[in-house]
Structure formats: C-alpha cells, structure tokens
C-alpha cells in the first residue's frame, strides 16, 4: 500500500508540502495555528481537507500561497512543480499565484472589490499574467462565465458585486480562479454560505473542472459529506495538526482516529456509502 502511494506520488506530483508550521503574533503572545503539516497533491486529483472550525485548514493554504495576515509567518517548504513557494521572493511567487494556482475564498460576500465592475475583476488577471488586451481579456471572461454556468452577458460584466446574489458571487470567484487555466485550485469552503441546491450545482462545477479539464483541486470543508462526494483522498485536521489521511474510501469506511470517527458520526445517513 505504502509503496504504491509513493509511486503515484513521484510520477504525477503537483504540490508537496513538508513540515509546515504557521504562527501568529497576538496580544497574548505567539500562537501556533498549524503544526508540522505534510501533504501532497497529484495532477488531476481532488484532495479533501476536513476539520472543525479553527483547526487550521485555511491558514495552511494561506501560508502556502503567501496570503497570511501581516501578523502571521510560517516555515517549512511547499514545492509546487520543483519550485518552493515558501522561500520564494514576492515577485517570483506572483508568477504562480493566479496563473497556475487559483484560490477561492471562504466568504464570497466580501471577497470581491466593491467598487470594481465584475468584468474588470475577471479580466485584470488575464491582462496581467497573459498580456492580453482589455477586449481579449473580456472575451475570455465571457467564456469562463460559461464554464461556471453564468449567463455570458454584457450585463453581468458591467455589474458591481453588490448587485449579485451569494451564489453568483461564488461562481464569479470560481471564474476568477479559472481565468488563466490554472493547474491547481484551492477552494476554501466554497459551498458553506450557500443553499443546498446551489451547493450541489457548485460541486458539479468542481467535478467538471477536475474530470473534464484535469485541474487538481483542494477542497476545504467541514462537511464530510461534501468531501465524500468529491475527493479522491482526504486529510483530517484538528488543532492545527493532521490527525488522519488516506484515500477517501479508506478513511470513511475504516477511520482510525477518534476525531474522524466523531466527524463521521455526524453525517446524515443518506450521504453515506
């Protein structure tokens, strides 16, 4: 088992994180939010991250992409295609962010710039990374809107975030991450703020991206049901540590850790199996 996993890992490896620690300076001193996390993601694979609120899921991936708050810092390594994101300079990291790695944030309601038109928020990333002209970038934006099942309309391109519903904003966030055809998308609780129907529509989009376009996806959630539906492998976090990891099937059918068992006992029965 171990050797097979090693094999897969070496052939198709996209991102490998080793000994990652994240710290924050706070009024009450230094706290450690992420403790010695190791993980890897293969090409075209969906990795699910579960864990209760505050377990360090978000901060793990913020630190990898250099998006920690100003009072936070990290050590360890995060090798993305032979390139260490953590020790890289800001400039170098920028070439990968938005281009090869897309990030979808936990809170779609506040994650779009309120005073910029949707079209510009989509197109700026392509004008920046792929040197497209404004009109080319807008054309691409319209195509991407199609992928996330939004109408390809000029109207939408010209609207401001406050004119959209939560579900639409989340689709826009996904569209932003797709603008430069990334190899990896990190989706931080992309469905938590949404109603059940919209939730499953969004998950379908991710399924298409992974299966149809071969994009690797990190799906963060505290809903183990969502993970069960979409992920190939799962990683369970608690208190900043990884408590269990393995293929989704293994972890869900024979959990070893107490905490995972507890999480599983919370899923409604119709999602099991």
């Amino acid at each position: 088992m171990q050797s097979i996993q090693k094999n897969i890992k070496n052939s198709d490896l996209l991102l490998e994180v080793n000994n990652l620690n994240v710290f924050f300076d706070t009024a009450d001193g230094k706290i450690q939010a992420v403790k010695d996390v190791n993980l890897f993601i293969n090409k075209g694979e969906c990795l699910g991250i579960v864990g209760e609120s505050g377990s360090g899921k978000t901060q793990t991936f913020f630190s990898i992409t250099g998006l920690l708050s100003s009072n936070g810092y990290c050590n360890g390594s995060a090798i993305f295609k032979d390139f260490d994101l953590i020790s890289a300079s800001e400039d170098k990291k920028r070439e990968y962010l938005g281009k090869s790695i897309g990030f979808i944030f936990q809170d779609p309601m506040t994650s779009l710039t309120p005073h910029m038109k949707i079209g510009e928020q989509l197109s700026e990333i392509a004008t920046f990374h792929d040197n497209l002209s404004k009109s080319e970038a807008l054309k691409r934006a319209l195509n991407v809107l199609d992928i996330v099942k939004l109408p390809k309309s000029r109207n939408l391109i010209n609207s401001y975030p406050h004119e959209l519903s939560g579900g639409m904003k989340q689709r826009i966030m996904i569209a932003i991450s797709l603008m430069c055809s990334p190899e990896l998308i990190i989706a931080d609780e992309p469905t938590t703020a949404l109603d059940v129907t919209t939730q499953s529509e969004i998950l379908n989009i991710f399924n298409d991206l992974q299966k149809g376009m071969g994009i690797s996806i990190v799906l963060i959630s505290h809903n183990i049901g969502v993970i069960a539906e979409t992920s190939d492998r799962v990683m369970v976090m608690k208190g900043g540590k990884v408590v269990e990891k393995g293929s989704t099937f293994d972890v869900l059918t024979s959990p070893k850790d107490e905490y995972t068992k507890h999480l599983l006992s919370c899923i409604p029965p119709w999602l099991e199996g």
Partner: protein, 306 residues
C-alpha cells in the same frame, strides 16, 4: 444625476434659510444692532440703512426683501465702513481668502492622503512612526500657536520668508500662511487615511486581489485607494470648515486682507451686516461642499444610490 443634484439642493434650501433667518433676527435683536433704537449714527449711515432695509414695511416683508437681495448677491451696506457695501468688502477680500483656502485644501488632501497611504503600507516602520509623530504635532499645535512660531522662526530668525502682507499674491508671502493653515489638516487627513488604508489592506477583497498575483502597486492603485479614500471624502466639508476658521486666524497673524480679516474686524466692531454676510457666504460654501461630497461618494462607491 441631475435629479440627484436638484434633490440635494432642495434639501439644502431649508438649511440656508435657517442660517439667513438667524442672521436676520440677530441684526434685529442684537444690543447695539442696526435696528435698535438707542443708536447714535452719523446721518449718512442712518439713511443708507433706512433705505436698504425698508424699515417702514412689516417684518415678514423685510425678511422677504432681504432674501431677494441676497439671491442677487446684495448683502446690504456695511454698518461700520460707511463707503462700502458688504458685497464690495467681500469681493475685495475674496481673492486672498480663496487663494489661501483653495491651495490649502488641495495641499492638505493630496499630501495628507499620500502620506497616510505610505504610512499604512509601511506600517510599523520608521517612516510610519515619523509621519505619525509629525502629524501628532500638527494635531496638538493649534494654528494660532503654529502660525506665530512659524513666522518667528522662518521670518524673524532665519529671515527666509516675509512675515506679513499680501504683496499681490507673491508666492513667498503665501508659503507661511498656507503652511500654517494646511498643517493641522494634513495631520488629520494623514491619520485618517492611514487607518482607513490599513483597514482596507486587511479586508478580504484585497486578499483576493493578492491571490491573483497582481503587482502591489497595481493593487494599491485599483483596489485599495478608491475604498480607503471614502472617509477622506466625508471629511471634505469639516476640513473646509476648519480651513475657514483657520484662515480667520492666519489672515490676522500674517496681516492678509482677506474675508476672515474683515470678519474679525466686523465682529469686534459689531458690524452686524458684514458679519452676517460672511456667515451666509461661508454657510453656502459649506452646503456646496456637502453636495460635492455626496456626488463624489456616489461616484466612488457604487453601493450608494444616486
């Protein structure tokens, strides 16, 4: 847009009317005012006032006439300068005060916002500390302390700049007054801008912009400034009010023949017509500034409906 502006102007009218009524009533009830009986005035002024205010007509009609005159810019004759109307005095002081006021507001807005943004970006560096330290001086040293000290230091001790006089708007004569006038506003604006920029930099949408791999300078320009400048826009009217009162002091100290100077002289000599004329002028300016604030806010923040 035009509908929005008209609506705002209609709302502003009662405000202006109240201010005008205040000036009108003040002139009538004030002890030693132009319409009390115990006055002993030279006959020419007496006649001027009798004519200008239609004292024989009923009071509501007088008020009506007063407003009508104001609407064509007629503020009536001065109560103390017998050869001048208030309008003439205001017009003679306007170039001085407008030069001072406009240059100060531009300098304060641009320099204050700029310093605030840089301090926010370089938060907790020596640059930040020194900007905030200097701005603290600007806040704690009122203009009537700052102005004489500037004039003492740069004018008398160093002999670099003239300490008083208008001199036809010579730039060297303007440096000290404009500095004294702008410093407190630069201080306030840079602090406001710093804290609002820090708040915006910590917001989720800036994290999104960073996750796109955009250049920081681009993020600041496109994503940050329009959001973080909003409090400064709100502060436009109060800042201008501050400059108006500040200019009263500064004109006094640097011997500049502006509106503020006339206002003080008028106040000290109880020249009620002059004082209420200046008050109405300033109030109208502030109302226009509030209107500009509303328009700018709507332009900068699409969530505001116009």
């Amino acid at each position: 847009m035009i509908k929005f502006i008209t609506k705002r102007l209609i709302i502003a009218i009662p405000t202006l009317l109240i201010i005008i009524a205040f000036g009108f009533i003040m002139m009538r009830v004030a002890p030693g005012g132009p319409f009390t009986n115990e006055r002993a005035l030279p006959p020419e002024i007496e006649r001027n006032i009798q004519e200008a205010y239609n004292l024989n007509k009923p009071i509501y009609e007088q008020f009506f006439i007063y407003i009508k005159n104001l609407s064509v810019g007629d503020f009536g004759p001065s109560f103390k300068y017998k050869d001048f109307t208030v309008k003439e005095l205001i017009i003679s002081g306007l170039p001085v005060s407008a030069t001072l006021g406009l240059s100060s507001i531009f300098i304060s807005l641009i320099l204050g916002s700029f310093l605030g943004i840089i301090a926010a970006i370089r938060k907790n560096t020596y640059f930040d500390y020194s900007i905030m330290g200097i701005s603290l001086i600007g806040i704690c040293v009122p203009s009537f302390v700052m102005a004489p000290i500037l004039s003492l230091f740069f004018g008398l001790y160093l002999g670099l700049l003239p300490t008083s006089g208008w001199n036809g708007g010579n730039i060297f004569n303007l440096i000290l007054p404009i500095t004294a006038l702008s410093l407190p506003q630069i201080a306030v604006i840079s602090r406001m801008m710093r804290s609002s920029t820090i708040e915006v930099l910590n917001s989720n949408f800036i994290r999104t912009a960073k996750s796109k791999g955009l250049k920081s300078s681009y993020i600041i320009r496109k994503h940050v400034i329009r959001a973080s400048i909003l409090p400064i826009i709100e502060y436009l009217a109060p800042a201008s009010a501050g400059l108006m009162t500040g200019s009263i002091i500064v004109e006094q100290i640097f011997g500049l023949p502006g509106i503020g100077r006339y206002f003080v002289v008028g106040a000290l000599q109880r020249d009620y017509t002059l004082v209420s004329g200046v008050m109405i002028l300033y109030a109208s300016l502030l109302i226009i500034l509030i209107l500009i604030t509303d328009i700018l806010r709507a332009y900068l923040d699409p969530r505001v409906k116009i």
